[in-house]
Assembly symmetry: C2
Homo-oligomer: 199 residues x 2
DNA sequence: GTTTAAATTAAACGTATGTTTAATTTTGTC
DNA sequence: GACAAAATTAAACATACGTTTAATTTAAAC
């Protein structure tokens, strides 16, 4: 599958660092197939983002209308689900983050922002309704979300640092380690809770 | 100055997206000067990182031994100084972040990790001594630092999102806006305080 | 003013890139 | 099995890249 090969290479070597030839070789297809199926290299990238898009949002949106959960439980559930998703799709997360931080290929930004803002707005609604219900402090919602996502990204960005800080040997992937993921999740949970809940 | 041109272009278009020709044109020097002065393109990049290195660390290290400040004041001061520095050098911060998240050009990682870990270890000592003094809760120090840095990075990464969330018009740079920077600083301060301080 | 080294230049080199073409093979349909 | 459309291939195309070269200009030293 060309998209899988592209996702892997973009994650490892960046968009420009991955040649169409590399991608096709990894996918075991002919060089011309990328242009045949996706028009050009940029089309391939856009398909990659679209493929990522919808999956998570549906699951998270259900949280909004669930009457059986308290506000803080919804925050917990959102953070856990988001962490899982970003850990599982670390490569694509990094690729998108890099592209978002560049002025190159700006037309990608729209597609990426759409995906991103969709999730952000769900989290925002969850926190806002908690504030309105008087259960949360009146915090800076947008920046709190930035803190949540930023924490996860920061962990995803630097594999070597995580290995060092968490004491992993060089040959294991810390992101597959269930204990470490749990450590991150529970840190984020406590961070959000201590910031949101009234004293 | 070649280094300034490179810093600007790497920030906007990434390492691979910035050609030596682009850099030389922006710096108004001949194409061959990069190889004459820096050996090759990678040498230019390494010089760029080294130039960034030392500046901040000295100022932050002084915090460690300042007896006139409380532990929480040191945390505040560190966070403020770090935020200022990353905002002021946004371009280079993004460039380094992108390179750290890639497996390409791994020999850069050492230089970058050195700079980064130096600052992290200062913050770690500050928090640890606050914990030992019984003034902070026994938190996950490494991940708390990741949250601080991650929050700043997350804000730096997505200019369009910041503009949207904070309501800036399209033609102003939100990172130059003193009010916005203050908003980020005070959010991080409150986040750290509410997480660190005992109930 | 001559000499020597450093700085700068224009041009070329070899290679890698994204893309296209035209030919060939595979697949599905009647 | 014949035909048509789709899928796949090898080759070539044009361009952009990082780097090198050899010539020229500038600067400094005596």
């Amino acid at each position: 599958m060309i998209l899988d090969a592209a996702e892997q290479l973009f994650a490892q070597k960046g968009y420009e660092g991955s040649s169409v030839r590399d991608i096709c070789q990894l996918a075991s297809v002919n060089l011309a197939m990328v242009n045949y199926y996706f028009g050009n290299k940029e089309g391939l990238f856009e398909k990659l983002i679209e493929r990522k898009a919808s999956f998570l949002r549906e699951r998270l949106r259900k949280l909004l209308d669930d009457p059986s959960m308290s506000h803080i439980q919804k925050v917990d559930a959102f953070a856990d689900g988001y962490t899982d998703r970003l850990f599982e799709r670390r490569g694509l997360t990094l690729t998108i983050m890099r592209e978002m931080s560049m002025q190159q290929r700006c037309h990608f930004h729209e597609t990426m922002a759409e995906v991103f803002l969709g999730n952000v707005s769900i989290m925002r609604q969850i926190i806002r309704s908690g504030i309105e219900a008087g259960q949360f402090r009146d915090v800076d919602v947008e920046l709190l979300i930035a803190s949540m996502i930023g924490t996860i990204n920061q962990v995803l960005i630097n594999e070597n640092m995580v290995r060092e800080l968490a004491g992993f040997p060089k040959d294991v992937n810390p992101y597959d380690d269930e204990k470490f993921r749990h450590r991150v999740k529970s840190h984020i949970r406590q961070l959000l809770r201590s910031y949101l809940q009234k004293l």
